[in-house]
Point group: C2
Chain length 175, copies 2
């Protein structure tokens, strides 16, 4: 079906909620550290079952996208600014590194490799998709005007810059 898993879908919704809660660098917040919400609060805001939300949050924390604080006043907060968190990083955090086919995974992962004729094209396709997803950030997702103003090509300038670097691997971005 070529879908992102449901966990990832939830993850993005939750991240959007966290980004929205962040009061745009309000001075008071700066002093008390990054603003955070706990799992229960996030579950309520996103209207999702708590156990699921908790699972997603733990995964995002492990991947380094979120930072967690234990104890009574605990909760989760973004590890970076929303502008710096790309969609491809979010996806990589929850789905693992982007590899559309076996062959585009790490090394020698595909068993067709011996006879296959299209391995290197797959690598390119992978990178193109990767760059597309890297051209959108969490900040874009929570910007109400984004959908309206965004032509399908608005991300191109950014894509341009990203493409110059040899497509940093997703793990680099996340961990």
């Amino acid at each position: 079906m070529f879908r992102l898993s449901r966990v990832t879908d939830y993850g993005i919704v939750i991240l959007a909620e966290l980004a929205r809660h962040r009061p745009d660098d309000e001075p008071a917040e700066l002093m008390s550290g990054a603003p955070s919400l706990n799992a229960r609060e996030l579950a309520e805001r996103a209207d999702l079952p708590l156990p699921m939300v908790s699972k997603v949050l733990k995964a995002l924390t492990r991947a380094g996208v979120l930072e967690s604080q234990r104890g009574t006043k605990g909760g989760y907060s973004l590890a970076r600014d929303p502008e710096e968190l790309t969609v491809s990083a979010m996806i990589a955090a929850l789905e693992g590194p982007l590899a559309l086919t076996q062959c585009s995974d790490g090394e020698a992962a595909c068993d067709l490799e011996a006879t296959c004729s299209v391995k290197s094209p797959w690598l390119i396709i992978n990178r193109v998709v990767q760059n597309s997803l890297a051209s959108i950030t969490l900040a874009d997702l929570t910007n109400p005007g984004f959908a309206a103003q965004h032509t399908p090509l608005a991300g191109l300038a950014q894509l341009q810059t990203l493409a110059d670097a040899p497509a940093k691997t997703t793990s680099d971005e996340v961990r």
Copy 2:
């Protein structure tokens, strides 16, 4: 895991085989209709199990990517020129229309919709990926120099044109 299914992977390999077999509009072939290969021949060339190849071929035919001929001299041939068959069309033929999340599917497919805050961004992300995949054709995949010469941005001009149209749905492209 965010992978294309194995069937799709096979499908692309097989399509590449068919495109390669096509002798670049050799005159004799033009008269006798499009060159074709049968399932057994393709299975051998791709070194894949025949039943699997057969399944994939049938799916591709149903989707309109291939044309089939029954009987003794039967077989499969490309329904279009390799230059006109995009990667996104191939994927759509075997995986169904591109919809990275539930919400980006047709209408009201996502149950989070009521409370969700990121629906429209998803639609955009979808389209960006779609356009990326539409910027590469079967002809590119079989062009040996493609991988070497292709910078991650070589597809941009094409992407530009594609983006002007309101992102034709994958089903339009295929069926």
